[in-house]
């Protein structure tokens, strides 16, 4: 595929999560959307350090900081951390993920993507679909895209899992052409 000439990569870094979360279709689609090679990596981060016992949640801003300090990335690769813990940023009750706008780092939590969290029967297909959308969304931020008002666009902000389920895994016309200019 000609578009994969880009030297820069996208690295999906799994923290205590199996490869099956992202290999196959998810990695392929991400590669097509962002026209970059996708690598899957396993990393270890002492997540307990970032647990807020009162909230029983993990501070995503601090996790990203720790990660950046310990894993400096070469030649502008984009790195997406995938963790299974529930994340928060100090000012908000929870987040599905966090990204550095126009940066190289983002993080996605699978905690609220699993049907089990909503007391329903786990479903791998639904889970992977949601995970794909959240990864594409956060990576979209690292390429400079901001939230889109079109609730079918992957860059629409999700506040609930219904928001995530409603939106598609790809970009709307406007976000797409913006991304195209940014790639």
């Amino acid at each position: 595929m000609t578009f994969l000439k880009n030297e820069k990569k996208i690295i999906l870094s799994l923290v205590d999560a199996p490869k099956s979360y992202v290999d196959g279709e998810i990695a392929e689609k991400i590669s097509v959307f962002f026209k970059r090679k996708v690598l899957i990596d396993f990393i270890s981060i002492p997540l307990e350090k970032f647990l807020n016992p009162i909230r029983d949640q993990y501070n995503s801003t601090e996790i990203l900081k720790y990660f950046i300090f310990n894993h400096p990335i070469e030649n502008e690769d984009k790195n997406c951390l995938i963790v299974r813990k529930d994340l928060f940023i100090p000012i908000l009750t929870f987040v599905f993920g966090e990204a550095h706008l126009n940066g190289n780092y983002c993080i996605v939590s699978t905690h609220r993507l699993c049907e089990r969290f909503y007391k329903r029967v786990p479903d791998t297909k639904i889970f992977r679909k949601r995970l794909l959308k959240e990864i594409v969304h956060e990576l979209g931020h690292t390429f400079g895209l901001t939230h889109c008002i079109n609730d079918l666009c992957v860059m629409h902000n999700s506040f609930t899992i219904e928001d995530t389920d409603r939106k598609k895994e790809y970009f709307c016309e406007e976000c797409f052409s913006e991304l195209d200019d940014l790639l």
Binding site: T61, I91, T93, E98, L101, N157, Y170
Partner: protein, 450 residues
């Protein structure tokens, strides 16, 4: 004002709060600046114009209340939202008296924060909005696949344009697959309510027992299984647009309930006795004949008139076949970038086939068909073969009764010639006759290329 031009200042002494909130609001698309104390805030405010300030109440040095007083006296038009820990609600109330727009208790609910900022920013910019409405409408329409140049679709576009900036109720009618929800979206996204939510309710898919709790929401413990309180769709649509799809499927009881909500603009969660005001625009859609349902008394007349202040009818695809080429081109363009497959377009023969097909499932069926063909296509162009799954149901093959054998022969020859774009050799091959015979028959029946 464009969202991207709205600027926000965050004033908080804790770096982690400033950082994470800045990052989050930047993801929302705003320009964000930070200051770590009151003095710094006032100096930043002197250098740049701001629309909104988030101000922490408890800060070392001058505290938030003092900063608020100063801001309000020097820049009375800037909206200020106070941030507080749970313990300082008292001072938050004081802040509201001084002129703060709202106060937030840490940690905030992300949805509330997002809505609040949108509300403030969009209200600040109402006048400038109208000018850009038309521009936005065009992009909204393209995004939702409302594409075409037929008179039928032009009428729909004109109607959307006329009705979007108003607040009237719209009833969208049309066969299934014509894109009723897409038209509703286009109206919402080009209306002044577009920064507020668009809430979609599919009346046909809600089970009888669930519809009430879905629409009205409930309090914790309202019934067995209500472990948490839940916002209903009416409440969720507050400020924005409520889209009621398949409105013809609404039960008689829900028709009464809906009518009451629309008249009184008030709702009450199940298990609560507190009413709350709601304000939303209603767009509804149906593929049924509501007027007939009114006559048959299966749909309430008063509700019908309340929903049908403005009617937009979307014609079926078979009545606007001239739009098929544009639609196909639009779908291929989208699929190309979604799937990263190098397909340039469609062969004239394949397009002809699509033009002839009756499309009982309308634009949605066309979209699915193009996607299916796109996936299996091998060359640079999608061919007739890639659409072979459509082949079996060509109703034009049906033979009209009371027709002579020679008339039938004429029709058949014309049809085959047209399919081959009047390539005589090819047509002769299909008809299994030689070219001279075909020429003679064309002469006999007076058939020539149209």
């Amino acid at each position: 004002m464009d969202k991207k031009n709205a600027s926000i200042l965050i004033v908080d002494d804790e770096i982690i709060v400033r950082e994470s909130m800045k990052n989050w609001l930047e993801e929302e698309g705003y320009l964000v600046f930070v200051a770590e104390n009151g003095d710094e805030a006032l100096s930043v405010l002197g250098k740049k114009e701001f629309d909104l300030v988030f101000l922490d109440i408890k800060m070392p040095g001058i505290d938030g209340i003092e900063v608020l007083k100063k801001i309000k006296s020097i820049y009375p038009f800037i909206d200020v939202v106070m941030m507080t820990a749970y313990a300082s609600i008292g001072s938050a109330v004081e802040a509201m008296k001084i002129g703060a727009y709202d106060y937030l208790t840490k940690p905030f609910d992300p949805e509330y924060l997002s809505m609040l900022v949108k509300k403030i920013i969009s209200h600040r910019s109402l006048e400038k909005e109208n000018v850009k409405l038309k521009e936005r409408l065009e992009s909204a329409l393209k995004q939702v696949h409302i594409v075409g140049e037929s008179d039928g679709i032009k009428k729909v576009l004109k109607a959307v344009e006329d009705v979007a900036p108003t607040d009237v109720s719209v009833l969208i009618t049309g066969e299934s697959g014509t894109g009723k929800e897409m038209v509703a979206r286009a109206i919402h996204y080009s209306s002044l309510r577009r920064f507020e939510p668009l809430v979609v309710v599919s009346c046909g898919s809600l089970p009888e027992g669930l519809i009430e709790s879905e629409l009205f929401g409930y309090e914790r413990g309202a019934f067995t299984g209500a472990l948490y309180k839940k916002k209903g769709k009416f409440e969720a649509a507050n400020g924005g647009t409520l889209f009621l799809d398949e409105i013809g499927e609404l039960t008689p009881k829900m028709q009464v309930d809906l009518l009451r909500v629309l008249q009184e603009k008030e709702i009450c969660r199940i298990g609560s006795n507190k009413t709350m005001k709601v304000d939303f625009r209603v767009i509804s859609a149906t593929n049924r004949d509501l007027k007939k349902m009114v006559e048959e008394k299966t749909f309430r007349e008063d509700l019908f008139y309340r929903l049908n202040v403005y009617n937009i009818h979307i014609p079926p695809l078979r009545e606007r076949k001239e739009d098929i080429p544009l639609l196909v081109e639009h779908f291929i363009k989208q699929l190309k970038r979604r799937m990263g497959k190098e397909i340039e377009g469609i062969t004239p023969q394949a397009l002809k086939k699509l033009m002839k097909y009756p499309w009982p499932g309308n634009v949605r069926e066309l979209e699915n068909a193009v996607e299916r063909a796109f996936v299996v296509a091998h060359g640079k162009l999608i061919t007739t073969e890639d659409f072979s799954f459509l082949g079996d149901r060509n109703p034009e093959l049906e033979i009209p009764s009371g027709i002579s054998l020679s008339e039938l022969e004429k029709i058949h020859i014309e049809k085959v010639l047209e399919e081959c774009d009047y390539n005589i050799s090819q047509a002769a091959k299909i008809l299994d006759i030689d070219r001279t015979t075909l020429y003679n028959k064309m002469k006999k029946y007076d058939i020539s290329k149209k």
